[in-house]
């Protein structure tokens, strides 16, 4: 198990390093000088040269990559030219906000998505099943940011129950979290339903029923545990969805997180800030996937033996 753990951690590290390289490569091969684009048309040659030097663009890609990694390891992500602040500080302020939002989204996904799928899979064809399937279909087909605006319109502007934007109290968190979770709840509910339906067709379920166990006991004790592996896999994949959704949700609710930092960096053409936000986003995603992979060992005893 320890060897497996170390192997997985090294592999994840490799993926993060390659992702950073790929991002630098993409930003590099595209025509146009980021420094000149950042400064605009009025910039003088010297100004462009200074920014180029500050961003390390005067060095070859490989050198720049290695020195970037070296500095990142030492906790230095460079300075944001637009915000006039160290990038590590900007990310340090924004990351907890995004984590708060994503965590709330994950909790909602688990505690709404799984029960919805469970109820609908346990009694296929019932009104509960139809209701939950229509809800999930809506969640899949409506854009996250649109759902956010609708919720904002009714619950903030019309009813005044929640603030329109910003952070602070739990009231600020409710609407963004529901918005963010809308898509993932729908996906997880659908996955739970189909996974459960598949398991309910197995022989051991019929046996359990035949020996007189109540239907609910069979569903919860026998079927659900076995349906859990695909559910966890899908949940792990949904984490990436949640992070992408966070970028959109933060834009809707003016939530001062990583997504807004990143979109702002693109708009302002703040090269190092963009690179830094991508680095943090990607690493967080890889880390969560690693945790999901390791959690298989807890759910399925067959995996931990590998």
């Amino acid at each position: 198990m320890l060897v497996y753990l170390i192997k997985r951690i090294l592999a994840s590290l490799g993926v993060v390093l390659s992702m950073i390289f790929l991002v630098m490569l993409i930003l590099d091969i595209v025509p146009g000088d980021p420094a000149a684009l950042f400064l605009g048309e009025s910039a003088t040659q010297e100004m462009v040269a200074e920014i180029r030097q500050q961003w390390g663009l005067d060095q070859p890609l490989m050198t720049r990559y290695l020195s970037y990694i070296w500095r990142v390891v030492h906790g230095d992500l460079g300075r944001s030219v637009r915000e006039m602040a160290p990038i590590s500080q900007l990310i340090g302020d924004a990351l907890p906000k995004t984590l708060e939002l994503t965590a709330a989204g994950m909790i909602l996904t688990l505690f709404l998505g799984v029960p919805l799928g469970l109820f609908s899979g346990a009694k296929p064809g019932s009104w509960l099943d139809h209701g939950s399937r229509i809800l999930s279909l809506l969640g899949l087909c409506l854009p996250v940011f649109w759902i956010g605006l609708i919720l904002m319109y009714f619950f903030s502007l019309k009813l005044g129950w929640f603030p329109v934007g910003g952070t602070g109290t739990w009231r600020h968190l409710i609407l963004p979290a529901v918005t963010l979770a809308s898509y993932t709840v729908a996906t997880l509910a659908r996955m739970t339903r189909s996974s459960l339906l598949e398991v309910m067709g197995e022989d051991y379920i019929r046996t359990a029923r035949a020996k007189g166990l109540a239907y609910s006991v069979v569903v919860v004790r026998h079927a659900f545990g076995n349906a859990l592996i695909p559910i966890v896999t899908v949940f792990g994949m949904q984490v990436g969805q949640l992070m992408g959704g966070a970028i959109l949700t933060e834009t809707v609710f003016s939530w001062p997180g990583m997504g807004r930092l990143m979109v702002g960096a693109i708009m302002d053409r703040d090269y190092l800030l963009l690179q830094g936000t991508i680095l943090v986003f990607a690493s967080a995603y890889i880390l969560i996937n690693l945790l999901v992979d390791l959690s298989y060992g807890l759910i399925d005893p067959q995996v931990s033996g590998r």
Partner: protein
């Protein structure tokens, strides 16, 4: 003309299967609904100049933010532009971006997937590692990186969405090729000396057409959603080109006074996404005989 024995029977069998698949598709009300929605969408996009009541860019400054069901069926936005006309032209943008990005992903995915699956070895290892790397970006992030490097605008948006989708297609094609490669008719054609490209074109490609078609249809929905998201963030299609995502984004500031400006385009996105999803699901159920149709 060299007529291979059995090829006529094979063709008849295929035609039979196709017609049976068609019948199965048409018997399912949900897939027919999806098909109708998609057809309506395509018609609207093609005939946009004929059916749009106004020029989508024309500003009627006296009718700013006018409510729906008045002079303008769906109202007007903050510049007095007719929302219905913008929706109709927006369908064009959405569909063009979705179709071309899916085409890029499809062609690239088929080339990469077939090469990897058929050749195996080092080519497979290197290319698939690269595809895995692309897949390990969280949702939206790779497309954002690509768009921020390429620049915004509908052309760059569709390239970015195409590249974002490519690895999934490549993986699927590769898996299909690996499954086919081991079968006896491939060994047989290799034994009679057919060159690799011929085997790929004649025997391997036709065998993964149906999963790829199903996935491409389902992916149209994803591409439409992705375009809307990028345009909403201001990174995709740029104003004044009417795009559904951009319409929602610009209507955001008037949510209190004129909620219809931001909400109506969302319904258009939902309809398009729903249509392609239903059609794709229906195609999958109809083409894959192993799947039981409820």
């Amino acid at each position: 003309m060299r007529e291979r024995p059995g090829s006529q029977a094979a063709r008849q069998g295929k035609a039979l299967l196709r017609s049976r698949a068609l019948r199965r598709f048409l018997r399912n009300p949900l897939s027919v609904t999806g098909l109708i929605v998609v057809l309506v969408l395509v018609t609207v996009a093609v005939l946009a100049p004929l059916i749009a009541p106004y020029d989508p860019g024309r500003q009627h400054l006296l009718d700013k933010r006018s409510k729906p069901f008045g002079k303008y069926i769906l109202g007007a936005d903050q510049f007095g532009r007719d929302i219905l006309s913008r929706l109709i032209y927006g369908a064009r943008v959405s569909l063009v971006v979705a179709i071309f990005s899916v085409l890029i992903a499809l062609c690239g995915g088929i080339v990469v997937g077939t090469l990897c699956g058929y050749l195996g070895g080092l080519v497979d290892a290197v290319l698939m590692r690269f595809m895995d790397l692309l897949l390990s970006f969280p949702y939206l992030l790779l497309a954002i990186v690509l768009v921020s490097a390429l620049g915004s605008g509908s052309g760059n948006t569709l390239v970015a969405i195409g590249i974002w989708a490519l690895p999934t297609f490549a993986r699927m094609v590769r898996a299909a090729v690996l499954g086919i490669k081991k079968q006896e008719f491939i060994t047989a054609s290799r034994a009679i000396g057919a060159p690799a490209w011929r085997i790929i074109l004649a025997h391997v490609l036709p065998n993964f057409v149906s999963p790829v078609v199903v996935y491409a249809t389902l992916f149209m929905a994803n591409a439409i959603m992705m375009e809307a998201a990028l345009s909403f963030l201001g990174l995709g299609v740029q104003p004044p080109t009417p795009s559904w995502g951009e319409m929602i984004s610009s209507g955001r500031n008037l949510l209190m006074v004129a909620p219809h400006v931001a909400t109506i385009p969302g319904l258009a996105i939902m309809l398009a996404v729903l249509g392609f999803n239903l059609m794709g699901d229906g195609l999958r159920d109809a083409l894959d005989p192993k799947m039981k149709v409820p």
